[in-house]
Symmetry: C2
Subunit: 182 residues, 2 copies
DNA sequence: TGCGAAACGGAGAGTGTCTCCGTATAGTCG
DNA sequence: CGACTATACGGAGACACTCTCCGTTTCGCA
C-alpha cells in the first residue's frame, strides 16, 4: 500500500473511533471522512461499508476481550461468581458503542458478517469460561457457549436500547446464570 | 373528524400494515403514503412520527395479546410448560415485523414512548402468567414480570436480527425458564 | 348555495449514502 | 534527477429518505 493510503487509513480509523464513541454506531460516515480530513471517496475506497470500518476499529478491542477473560479466569471462587463476573464483563465489552450489542450479537454465528472474527474472539473467550465451569461440573447439560453469548447479548441489547442502569441489568444476568448452572 | 380524514387515516394504516410486513420496521414512509394514495403531508399530519403510526397499526395486535394469554392460561400442566408456552407465544407476538422485538422491548418501561400502551398490554399479560406461577409457588423470589419481558425480549431481538430458527430459540427460553423457576 | 374551517398534496429543504471521474502524487526506472 | 505510470485522492452530484410549508381543494353546516 502506498504511504499516503496507509496514512489516510489510519486517520480514518482514528476519526471513526471518535465519531462512533460520540454519536453511536449510526453516526454519519461523511462526518467521519470530514473529521479525518479526507474526501468521502477515500473513506469508501478503504472501507466499502460501515461494517468493514467497524471491524477495523475493533482490532484493538480484540486484545481487550482476551485480557478481560484472562483476568476473570484467575479469580478463584464459586462458579456462580465467576460466571456473573464474566457476564458483566461481557456486557461491558460489547456495549462500547450505542447499537453495539445488537450489532455484535446478531453477527454471532453469521459466517458472512464482516465482523465475524470479532465475534469468534468473544465466543472463544466465553468458551474458556464454559470449559472452566465444565471442569467443575457446574454447568447443566447441553449448554453451549454460543447460547450464552446470545442470552447475554440479548440482555445487553435491551439494556443498550432502553438505557438500563447496571443495577437493573444485574438481576437479568443472575437469571441467566441460574438457568445454566446446575 | 371529517369523513375524508377518517378515510385517509384508515387507508394509511392499511398501507402501513402492508409495507411494514413486506419491508420491516424501517420501510420508507413515503412508500406508505404512496401505497395509500395520499401525499406525504397527509401521512405526517395523521402520524407525526413512525412510532405513532406503528402504534396505530398495533391496535389490532393488542387483542391478539390478550387472546393469547387467555389461551395459555387455560392450559393445565406443569409450571415450566406453562411458562415456556407463554415465552414462545411472547416471542411470536413481538416478532410480527422485522425490528419489532427490539423496538417493543426497548420501549418497555419508557413512559414517554408512543407505544407505551402496547408494552403495558404485554407486561400485564406477562403479569398474569407470573401471578399464576406465584399461586403455585413455582417462582423464585424477586422475579418481576418486567424482567421476564426484558429477558425474553432480548432473546427475541437476537433471534430477529440473526434470523434464528425456532429450534435455536427454544433452548434459550428454557434457560430463562430454569432461571426464574424454583 | 355559499362560506369558512379542515384537510389535502407535493414541491423542496435538509441530511445521509455512495459513486464517478478528473486531478494529484508516490515510487520506480533509465 | 526527471519522466512516467499505477495508485490514490477528493468532492461534486445522483439518489434516497424524512419532514415541512403553504397554496389548493373539499367537506359539511347554515
Amino acid at each position: 500500500m502506498r504511504a499516503d493510503a496507509q496514512r489516510n487509513r489510519g486517520r480514518l480509523i482514528e476519526a471513526a473511533r471518535e465519531v462512533f464513541r460520540e454519536q453511536g454506531y449510526d453516526a454519519s460516515l461523511d462526518e467521519v471522512a470530514k473529521r479525518a480530513g479526507v474526501g468521502a471517496g477515500t473513506l469508501y475506497r478503504h472501507f466499502p461499508s460501515r461494517d468493514v470500518l467497524m471491524d477495523a476499529i475493533m482490532q484493538r478491542w480484540v486484545d481487550r476481550v482476551n485480557d478481560s477473560v484472562e483476568k476473570v479466569l484467575v479469580h478463584e471462587g464459586e462458579p456462580r461468581d465467576l460466571l456473573l463476573t464474566w457476564f458483566e464483563t461481557y456486557v461491558d465489552l460489547i456495549s462500547m458503542h450505542k447499537g453495539g450489542p445488537a450489532k455484535i450479537t446478531s453477527a454471532m454465528g453469521d459466517e458472512g458478517s464482516p465482523i465475524v472474527t470479532k465475534c469468534q474472539t468473544l465466543a472463544a473467550a466465553t468458551q474458556r469460561v464454559v470449559d472452566r465451569l465444565e471442569e467443575q461440573h457446574a454447568l447443566r447439560e447441553h449448554i453451549e457457549a454460543v447460547q450464552m453469548c446470545r442470552l447475554v447479548g440479548g440482555v445487553a441489547s435491551v439494556a443498550d436500547s432502553a438505557d438500563l442502569e447496571p443495577a437493573a441489568v444485574r438481576p437479568l444476568l443472575e437469571v441467566i446464570a441460574d438457568g445454566v448452572l446446575v
